[in-house]
Each structure stands twice: as structure tokens, then as C-alpha cells.
């Protein structure tokens, strides 16, 4: 028999790790946003598990009978708040992603960042700061573009 607690804790930390990996490794904006959602889900699950006990009942007094073994209601109320905040931010993030897609025609964050840096540089009236890490081909293409 697998221990339920072990499964739940592994799920929480797994979600957190998958979320962080998604944010750090993905280039596609929507995938990054889903990474954020997974990370939040993992954090919420961990918060729920903070006082979870196997077999505990909800802390509700039914017909004057007080359950013997009750779960702590505080984290559950907190997670409800955190989920609502998370959904709101998810909607905001997706709507911003839509605006970015309309403006730049892409959701690839490397490209979006490049275009944004270019826009900031153009507005400021300075050259794009050429990164020494950029491959020679990229730098050459940039010089061609500006010429």
C-alpha cells in the first residue's frame, strides 16, 4: 500500500518543480503562463497539506454532534483565496499575452524580448546593446538590418 500522504506531498513538490521548469525552460508565452498556473497549484496543494490528516472530517457541527477528528479549516479558507487570486492573474496574463501577440505577431519570448529591447532602444534613440554572447550570425543579421 502506498502512503497517501507521501503521494500527496510528492504531487505538491512535483507540481512546483514542473511549474518552475516550465517557466524557466519554455520559450512559448502560453506555456510559461501554464507553468505559473502549475506552480501556483503546487503551492496551494502544499498549503492544504500543511495540516492535512488522514481520515479527518470537515469541521462542521451537524445536529449538535461535534466530530471527533476535525481538519484545520484555516488553510482551506486560505487556499480558496489563493485560488481566486491565481485565476484572476491567469486571466490577466492571458489577456496580456493576447495583446503581445497582436502587437508582435509572435508568442516566442526570445523574439518578444528582442523586439521589446529594440523598441526601447529606438524610443531612446540609441543602438541596441549588442550582447557579446550573441552568435556571430545574429550580430551580422542585426547589422544587415540596421544598414
Amino acid at each position: 500500500m502506498l502512503d497517501t500522504g507521501l503521494v500527496l506531498y510528492s504531487a505538491a513538490f512535483g507540481l512546483i518543480l514542473i511549474g518552475i521548469a516550465g517557466i524557466v525552460l519554455s520559450a512559448h508565452l502560453v506555456r510559461i503562463i501554464f507553468g505559473v498556473a502549475l506552480l501556483e497549484a503546487g503551492a496551494n496543494l502544499l498549503l492544504l497539506l500543511a495540516t492535512w490528516r488522514e481520515g479527518a472530517s470537515a469541521p462542521i457541527i451537524v445536529a449538535g454532534r461535534v466530530p471527533e477528528f476535525m481538519a484545520d479549516p484555516v488553510p482551506q479558507a486560505l487556499v480558496l483565496t489563493a485560488i481566486v487570486i491565481g485565476v484572476g492573474i491567469l486571466a490577466l496574463a492571458l489577456s496580456l499575452a493576447l495583446r503581445v501577440q497582436r502587437a508582435y505577431g509572435t508568442l516566442d519570448m526570445h523574439e518578444v524580448r528582442q523586439r521589446m529591447e529594440q523598441e526601447i532602444a529606438d524610443q531612446a534613440g540609441i543602438d541596441m546593446p549588442a550582447s557579446s554572447h550573441a552568435p556571430a550570425a545574429v550580430q551580422a543579421a542585426r547589422q544587415e538590418g540596421s544598414a
Binding site: N44, L46, T51, L78, A93, L96, R113, E119
Partner: protein, 483 residues
């Protein structure tokens, strides 16, 4: 006593009523926001003398802690709640097309920022922190350019990442102690959180709340956001909101996390912040990003200062934070007309002599030139760093010195170009009177505090000693449970 809750409630209620007021009269809607902030500032200021030596805890709805939600107001919390109201008032987003939406968001920022400063409960801190974050996304994207949307979405990702980490940290704390009330946590911490789990929780919360405080690894958003957002909003974020996040971290350190490793982590991240921020500012070639990177460096100094153990660290950090709180918004107000390449600023002193003079004053104080308050704040940090007699703290002192040298170099490169005479290019336009008046007000405050430095230092020391006294916090919130 309960009137302090108005600092949070009044701006929030007004924000949601604003669209209704706007239907009746646009004129009224335009002036309601600033009026409410004047009222909340007045409430805060009138409360200051009452506060005296003992802090005040307010039980919302009359429920006793730990069940009820507590607002805790000591001098430090009130100071930053006041700074939020006054700062939002001074940097009121007066321009742009969508005035109604911006006024609403600015009011929510003022209300939730005050709430963040006054909260005595870990989960409320999280909720207010998210509220501040969501509102700032709306304010940053106000220019509605493609670049501002891209910068906002990148900021949103970093910020939500940080908030989720902070929530994970809160979960770890709750798992160990079963409470979220800061006073109760402070009593339970020595037995329950003085271990690896406590340290992990602190690091998660440090990184999480550090996003807004421009902490080293999670500050990638700073240059992009400050370059694309309206300059007043950048000033508000760099000047006020970053200090609120810092306040939370200081509270956590004073009340809950006493491990020496926690201070070391913060010290190292602060040192890295100063090094990267100042070097990037030195290399920047446009005005906005130069002051954005310089603010990363300045906040790094604050992290170094707060990592000094005990009351001395809180005193030194508070001095640097208050100095930055005045200087950086003024800097961003000047940036309104000077954004763009530094090369275009030649001859700016001809069109805006007062602006150029103000910039030099602010720059001198940022670098830390003697009579100005910036010098005393940095001196305090240096003395306390050296007094630690520890090689890592010494490294911090050296890094701050090196950072000051770099600051002097890049700020004076700009200042001297103001006085260049060039015939081939036109100098930038003069500042708007409104921006210049606000910046002058902040500059005048800086000069005045240079003359009043001794009484001011005594006052700040009083604030710091109250904030650093953990037993005072516990007794104020929970008088029956004496340790």
C-alpha cells in the same frame, strides 16, 4: 484608534466608487482620488504623536488574535503607510488618456500598500502583496504600446513566480507552527522554526517578496518596466513599493527568522545586487535605464544594511531606505523629459536650469557627499558593517565603496553633459511645472533634512529600536500571552 483602518479602507472604497462618481461628474471623479489621499495622509500624520513609545494593535471586527485579523501599527509601519499615501499623492498619474482607470488603480495601490505596511498576519501580507502586484501591472501598461505590454507580461511572470514561492514559504511556516499571526509566530519560532525547514521558508519568502524589492536574481523586470512605464509610475514603484516589500522582509527577520544563515543569504544577495546594479547603470546609455539599474544597486545597499544583526542593522537600513524614498521619485520626475539617450542631454541646463541643479543635488546625495543625508545614511551602514569584524561584512563595505565610485562616475558624466554647449543638436525640452514643483519639493526636503540631521537621526533611531523589539510586538498584539 480604529481610524488607522481607514488608511486601508478609505482608498479601496473610493476606488470602487470612482466609476459611479464619474457618471455623475467627471470633475468630481478627477479630484476625489487626491482628496482621499490628502485625508488618509492627514489621519496618518495626526496619529503619529499619539503613537509615542508604544505601538498599537487593532483587532478587526473585534476578534482576538490569533483567530482575528490584526493590524499592527508601530512607527515603522505607520511611516511606510504614510509614505504610500503621500507618495501616491505626489506621483498621482495626472496624464494619459484613461484618467479614470489610472486614478482607480492608483487608489487601490495606496490602499493595499498601506495594508501591506500595517498587516500583522502572514496571509494578509500575501493577499495585499498580490493586490499591489496586480494594480501595478495595470499602471505599468498604461501607455498601451507594444513594448509596455511585453514588459508587463514579463514582469507578471516574474512576480507571480515570486508570489507562488512566497506562498510555498507560508505553507512551510504554517506546517511547522499552525498559525499565521506574526506575534504568535514570533513566540513559536525559537522552538519550531529554528531548523532547516524554517530557513527554507525564509529563503522562499525572501525571493518571493524580493521581486518587488528588486532583489538580485529576481530583478530582471526592472530595466524594462522602468523604461516603458509612465515615469511617475516608475517613481512610485522604485520609491515606495520596493520599500514596502523590504519592510515585510525586515519584519520577518526581526520577528521570526533568527538563523545566522538567513542574514548571510540576504547579505550575499545584497552584495550581488550592488555589483550588478551599479555596473549595469554605469554601462547604460539611456537615462531611464541608468536610474533603474542604479535603484537596483541602492536596494542592494539596503539588503546589506538590513542583514546586520540587531537594532543597528534596522537603524542603518531604515536610514538608507528613507533617503532613497525621497531621492528616487524625484529622479524619475526629472526623467519625464530626459528619457532617451544620454547623448541627447547635452545643453539641458540651458532649457531647464532648475532641473539640472536638482539632478546634481540628488546625485550628490545618492553618491554620499558629506553635508547631504545620503552621506550620513551610508556612513551609518559602513560603520556598522565594519563593526561586525567579519570578512563577508567587510566585503559588503568594500562593495558599497566601489559602488559609490561607479555612481560618482556615471552620474557626473550625465551632469557635466548638461553644461556642454552644442550647436548641432537641440537640448531637450524644459520640464513641466508640475513635475518640477514636486521634484523641487522633494529636493527641498532633502536639503532641510541635511540641516536637521541630528534630531532626524534620533527620531529614526527611535523608530528602529521600536521595530527591532520583538517582545514589544508580541505584547502589543497579545497582552495576555507574555513570554
Amino acid at each position: 484608534m480604529n481610524q488607522l483602518a481607514l488608511l486601508v479602507a478609505l482608498p479601496l472604497i473610493t476606488a470602487f466608487l470612482l466609476p459611479v462618481i464619474n457618471r455623475v461628474s467627471t470633475f468630481a471623479a478627477r479630484w476625489t482620488g487626491p482628496l482621499v489621499l490628502v485625508i488618509t495622509s492627514a489621519i496618518g500624520i495626526s496619529f503619529w504623536p499619539q503613537l509615542g513609545d508604544s505601538a498599537v494593535a487593532i483587532e478587526l471586527g473585534g476578534f482576538r488574535p490569533p483567530l482575528g485579523i490584526t493590524l499592527y501599527a508601530d512607527k515603522m509601519a505607520l511611516l511606510f503607510a504614510l509614505a504610500t499615501s503621500i507618495g501616491t499623492l505626489l506621483l498621482w498619474p495626472s496624464r494619459g488618456e484613461d484618467k479614470l482607470r489610472q486614478s482607480t488603480l492608483a487608489l487601490i495601490l495606496a490602499g493595499s500598500g498601506s495594508g501591506l505596511a500595517l498587516s500583522g498576519d502572514l496571509f494578509n501580507i500575501y493577499v495585499f502583496y498580490e493586490l499591489v502586484a496586480v494594480v501595478s501591472y495595470g499602471l505599468i501598461a498604461a501607455r498601451s504600446t507594444a513594448g509596455s505590454f511585453a514588459a508587463t507580461v514579463r514582469y507578471l511572470i516574474v512576480s507571480s513566480f515570486g508570489a507562488a514561492l512566497a506562498l510555498t514559504g507560508i505553507a512551510l511556516v504554517y506546517q511547522a507552527t499552525g498559525t499565521l499571526n506574526l506575534a504568535q509566530l514570533s513566540q513559536l519560532a525559537p522552538t519550531h522554526l529554528n531548523n532547516l525547514q524554517g530557513l527554507a521558508a525564509f529563503v522562499l519568502m525572501l525571493i518571493g517578496f524580493g521581486v518587488k524589492a528588486e532583489l538580485f536574481p529576481v530583478n530582471t523586470w526592472v530595466p524594462e518596466v522602468y523604461a516603458t512605464a509612465p515615469t511617475r509610475i516608475s517613481g512610485l514603484l522604485a520609491g515606495v513599493v520596493s520599500k514596502l516589500a523590504l519592510l515585510i522582509i525586515v519584519r520577518l527577520l526581526v520577528l521570526i527568522f533568527h538563523q545566522p544563515e538567513a542574514l548571510t543569504v540576504m547579505l550575499v544577495l545584497g552584495i550581488l545586487g550592488v555589483v550588478t546594479g551599479e555596473l549595469a547603470a554605469w554601462r547604460a546609455r539611456d537615462f531611464n535605464r541608468m536610474i533603474a539599474f542604479s535603484s537596483i544597486g541602492q536596494l542592494g545597499i539596503m539588503f546589506i544594511a538590513f542583514s546586520i544583526p540587531g537594532e543597528a542593522g534596522v537603524f542603518a537600513g531604515l536610514a538608507v531606505a528613507l533617503h532613497h524614498l525621497v531621492v528616487k521619485p524625484a529622479m524619475f520626475l526629472l526623467a519625464e523629459r530626459w528619457q532617451g539617450s544620454l547623448a541627447n542631454l547635452a545643453g539641458a541646463a540651458r532649457t531647464s536650469p532648475l532641473g539640472a541643479a536638482l539632478f546634481i543635488l540628488l546625485a550628490l546625495s545618492l553618491i554620499g557627499v558629506p553635508p547631504l543625508p545620503g552621506f550620513w545614511a551610508k556612513l551609518l551602514v559602513m560603520i556598522n558593517l565594519v563593526a561586525q569584524e567579519n570578512s563577508l561584512y567587510m566585503l559588503g563595505a568594500w562593495v558599497i565603496m566601489g559602488g559609490a565610485a561607479l555612481e560618482a562616475n556615471y552620474l557626473f558624466r550625465v551632469a557635466s553633459s548638461f553644461y556642454h554647449r552644442t550647436d548641432e543638436q537641440t537640448p531637450p525640452a524644459a520640464h513641466r511645472p508640475g513635475d518640477l514643483a514636486t521634484a523641487s519639493l522633494l529636493g527641498a526636503g532633502l536639503v532641510a533634512s541635511a540641516f536637521l540631521i541630528m534630531p532626524l537621526a534620533d527620531e529614526i533611531e527611535g523608530v528602529a529600536s521600536q521595530a527591532a523589539d520583538k517582545n514589544h510586538y508580541v505584547q502589543t498584539v497579545n497582552p495576555e500571552q507574555l513570554p
